[in-house]
């Protein structure tokens, strides 16, 4: 029994334990914190399974950002928590839910164990054709070259999600600033952190986005880090949320999908199809699209977290 196996056993026990803990907590705040911890343990699992890109995204989105988002939702629901807790389902419903979950989990386990070794996969094909794109990371190759249309549509969906969140605003404050005004002691500890950490964080985010061409990384984790740093300055009261009517903000939101679309349409003229890249310019074009995407992702995720406008601008 090697030490790597021991590590895996310990990790599996930890994941299961944290999952059971998350389900057993009765009040929202504790459950959200437990869910964030669960995301962090999953990061380790992804690494053990040899998927560092997924691990990066899990650490960025699955624990940090989703935890904060769920917490904001829990805060808005705090007044109804008592009423919901009083209506908890009876024992019979819970047993049925547990049995159903166990059957689904068991089915997945059996399906995974029944896979032939080596499992059928397109990964060798993806890696074999990577040289034509000039990239070194197969995951980025899939995202930006083989399935670029999917990635473009995802960016548009994120933009629609931001608009949907904005649509929840009261019509009197349309065009205003999202979220409450965070007032913090300017010399306080949190303001100090919000001044010192974001520079390092932004450098790290740009690094992760840049290095995604050849190593695990990419625009999405990089943009998420930058969004988290921006949100940190907002939560500390160092900067205020921008009014949603601001031109610069709307430009930043749309530059990612716009550049992606423009490059795709150029594909008709300089290559042979929509979103096709000419072999000589593939990597510069991909990098250009990624730069736009990092900005859009950072601003979109920040706005999704900040919520609908609640105060009038200026």
């Amino acid at each position: 029994m090697s030490w790597a196996f021991t590590f895996d056993v310990a990790l599996t026990a930890l994941v299961l334990g944290v999952a059971i803990w998350t389900l057993s907590l009765r009040e929202n705040f504790g459950a959200v914190v437990a869910f964030a911890v669960y995301g962090l343990t999953l990061t380790l699992v992804w690494l053990r399974l040899g998927a560092p890109d997924v691990a990066l995204t899990e650490a960025a989105i699955g624990s940090g950002l989703t935890g904060a988002l769920l917490l904001a939702a829990a805060a808005r629901l705090r007044s109804t928590e008592a009423a919901i807790a009083a209506e908890s389902p009876g024992g019979g419903v819970r047993v049925a839910a547990a049995v159903l979950s166990a059957i689904v989990a068991g089915g997945i386990v059996l399906a995974v164990l029944a896979l032939p070794v080596p499992a059928p996969s397109l990964a060798p094909n993806a890696v074999a054709d990577l040289a034509a794109t000039g990239l070194g990371n197969a995951v980025t190759g899939v995202l930006m070259a083989y399935r670029a249309a999917d990635t473009l549509l995802e960016k548009v969906v994120v933009l629609i999600a931001v608009i949907a969140v904005w649509s929840l605003a009261d019509s009197r404050v349309w065009g205003g600033r999202p979220g409450p005004a965070h007032r913090a002691e300017p010399d306080g500890a949190l303001a100090f952190l919000a001044r010192r950490l974001p520079p390092l964080g932004i450098v790290a985010g740009v690094y992760i986005a840049w290095v995604g061409a050849d190593m695990p990384g990419g625009a999405f984790p990089g943009g998420t880090i930058i969004a988290a740093m921006w949100l940190l300055t907002i939560m500390a009261g160092v900067k205020d949320t921008p009014p949603i009517s601001s031109r610069g903000l709307r430009l930043a939101l749309t530059v990612g999908p716009a550049v992606f679309l423009a490059v795709g349409l150029c594909g008709f003229f300089i290559a042979d199809a929509f979103l096709a890249y000419p072999v000589a310019y593939a990597k510069p074009l991909i990098v250009l699209v990624e730069v736009g995407m990092v900005l859009t992702i950072a601003v979109s995720l920040g706005l999704l977290m900040a919520g609908p406008p609640e105060r009038s601008g200026k």
Binding site: A13, F29, L56, A68
Partner: protein, 95 residues
């Protein structure tokens, strides 16, 4: 190689320490204890990741540890801001 085995043992050890710490925080009453869970998992998880990265030569894990560091800070601040009672007016010594 002995060094690799040692690093893996250390990674296992830190993981077990984190698990033990989490079991205590589970029972802890109050929001402050729960927030500590994110801190513990963040720091311990990073320790495990870094040991693991050098043990198996997977240098991507170091990047993941960097992302984890930054995002767990953000998550901790979000938790503190979102805990019950912090939406009252700030006191003079609050940040």
């Amino acid at each position: 190689m002995a060094m690799t085995a040692f690093l893996l043992v250390a990674a296992c050890f830190v993981l077990v320490m984190v698990a033990l710490g989490l079991t205590r925080i589970l029972r802890g009453p109050g929001d402050a204890d729960r927030m500590m869970a994110a801190q513990l998992m963040g720091t311990g998880g990073m320790g495990t990741l870094l040991l693991f990265a050098v043990a198996t030569g997977a240098s991507a894990a170091i990047d993941v540890a960097l992302v984890l560091a930054l995002l767990s800070v953000f998550a901790s601040v979000a938790f503190v801001k979102g805990a019950a009672g912090t939406d009252a007016q700030d006191h003079k010594d609050d940040a």
